[in-house]
Symmetry: C2
Subunit: 381 residues, 2 copies
């Protein structure tokens, strides 16, 4: 099945305020993705723009596709809340595998600085069922706060475990020049940060950001011709879940578990085979849930991975060694592509101070909403 | 290539105000699409929700997928302005053809009644480049008005030709119980209707609407097993265009021409082989441009098809014999699916008073923006 490859990856700086239109913001990632490839714009047969369209510009796909010089190739916009980026990759894979196209660009973007933070929170709240969730005050931090509380009550997880995730990710973000927060924080600083949705505090939460990502995806034969080191799409998994009020458990994100099972089966690998992973740490608790949902830890034992430094660079399974959403920032539609970019660069051996030695198989875990959607992707070098 | 079929089609009533949440609105189309099929919800492996999300509910795909009972199957939202519905079908085809899934639901929906008309006009204007189009006042009617003026100046097209499109479509809408406008209008009534964006008048324009559509799409072997009369996807074409200010000509929509060429080539048919067509008549001029862009008439001779009644039921190539967008109403994300539904029903011979006798091959032409996106789909009975 490994006949579709990622041949180029790019990302803009993630920032609090990019100061340019979404079109130019996308170009920043596209330029990096195309650098060094023997491919020009006319060879890109379709583009997929992944975004929640929080910026004033609606239907971004048209202006972006045109600005990148890709007309008259068709363009499609995919919105899947915070999972849009990896959903776009899934669609690109299908377009290529089905025989429609041989080279497809997946552009993820969000410009969130045009609105006030409270407006963004309100808009993002309306991404979940407005009849049963946001209307009762379930914002993103509130929803993940409930998951954190449930995990603490059932498994004895401590606030210090949550804080430990932020400490780890802040350590690695020091080496990521495209991250928003590049300062190492201490456990004490996280624990003393202001409460947001208890037990989650300010430093347990990622930040809104402006940013873009770009993936150039190609059929295997083309990939081998135009690129020195194609990275192969080995496994794909995707699932959804109901609204929070209908769920049986808050100690896991069931759609992430299902998506992971699908991706492992398609790639023919086990959790222990993964050399490096990027998981959707929109909140610290989300990274701990991911450890368990992906099978890196047994149920309830996710916090041990933080205690034992298993997910540090030298550990058993390095996770989010680019700083994660917590430190890079989370420009919704761009996040999935940014995760893929990190894994592609790891599998190419391009990660310098945060390189996982000899990484051959990598995984991304991209979640939309409060576990409403999940995509798990497995890549092979 | 004809190994993906449409096995079920449904549509809600199109109305000015549906009075229900978007989830229930979608269920109305889904119920019709599933009726008579030997398929249950658990066999639907993915859903694609097509919408511009003009309603307050954002990321509709989660609440809709859950309401239809499709969790934990994954769901993806596609926004492609007014072309979203057919873009969703294209993605469903790719999902199936690539081997990912065997049965996929494509749900199109728009609930526009929650906002004032001027708010809708403003939101839809922002679907085109906000730096170069809507900021200078290019609304949808204005953009198509410029195309109408250009066609009149170059080819001698008369306002009466435009009006004739509305007269034809209103004639057939009398037989469509799901259309908003079901009253026959006269040429004089259209000509005397109030100016909107000259030469376009009120009756040259379609209306905002609440509505949904649903297509159940399946791999060929499954289709043959669960459905008496699968309708095969024979040809697909898709293309994009720049913003208006960069275009060389306003007398054609170049992306529709390119998409049509692709679809004809894939299906191995010519324009003369098409027995019945649904074209994107968001404005009367758009139907005349479609005649030419699809090759039903030579360049500049589209108006003759109206003069000669060639696109009436008894004519050479019946077009929009369900009333078209002009009379059905245009609930953005639902429109592409509604067009496909009409063609599927024609190819099944289920169209009663507007049945095209012996129709074997049908076509849909679904345009987003002012010719920013186009999908052409060819179906075979």
């Amino acid at each position: 099945m490994e006949d579709v490859a990622i041949i180029g990856v790019g990302q803009s700086n993630f920032s609090r305020k990019c100061g340019v239109p979404v079109t130019e913001l996308c170009f920043e990632a596209y330029r990096e993705a195309m650098t060094g490839l023997d491919v020009n714009a006319s060879q890109i047969k379709a583009s997929i723009v992944c975004s929640s369209a929080i910026d004033k510009q609606r239907s971004l796909e048209g202006p972006v596709n045109n600005y990148l010089g890709l007309c008259p190739s068709p363009t499609f916009m995919v919105n899947n809340a915070c999972a849009a980026g990896s959903s776009g990759l899934r669609i690109a894979w299908s377009f290529i595998k089905s025989g429609l196209y041989d080279v497809v660009a997946v552009v993820g973007v969000e410009k969130m600085s045009g609105l006030e933070s409270r407006e963004v929170a309100e808009l993002m709240g309306r991404a979940y069922d407005i009849s049963w969730e946001s209307s009762f005050g379930v914002t993103m931090p509130a929803g993940y706060g409930m998951h954190a509380r449930a995990h603490m009550e059932k498994y004895g997880t401590k606030e210090e475990h949550l804080a430990g995730v932020r400490v780890k990710n802040s350590f690695y973000s020091q080496m990521n020049e495209k991250a928003i927060f590049r300062k190492l924080v201490t456990l004490e600083e996280v624990m003393k940060s202001n409460p947001v949705a208890p037990p989650l505090k300010m430093m347990d939460c990622c930040a809104n950001a402006d940013g873009s990502s770009c993936l150039i995806v190609a059929r295997g034969d083309v990939a081998k011709r135009v690129c020195n080191k194609p990275i192969w799409i080995a496994g794909l998994g995707a699932a959804s879940d109901s609204g929070l009020s209908q769920r049986k458990s808050y100690t896991s994100l069931s759609c992430a578990k299902i998506a992971a099972e699908q991706a492992y089966a398609m790639a023919g690998v086990k959790p222990a085979d993964i050399d490096v992973a990027e998981v959707h740490d929109c909140f610290t608790i989300a990274e701990i849930l991911a450890y368990e949902d992906l099978g890196f830890a047994k149920k309830g034992e996710g916090p041990k991975l933080i205690e034992n430094k298993d997910t540090y660079l030298e550990g058993r399974i390095p996770v989010n060694v680019d700083g994660g959403l917590l430190c890079k920032g989370h420009p919704v539609g761009a996040t999935g592509g940014s995760q893929i970019r990190t894994i592609v660069r790891q599998l190419r051996g391009e990660c310098g101070p945060v390189q996982v030695n000899g990484a051959k198989i990598g995984l991304t875990h991209n979640v939309g909403g409060i576990g409403h959607y999940a995509n798990v992707t497995i890549l092979r070098g």
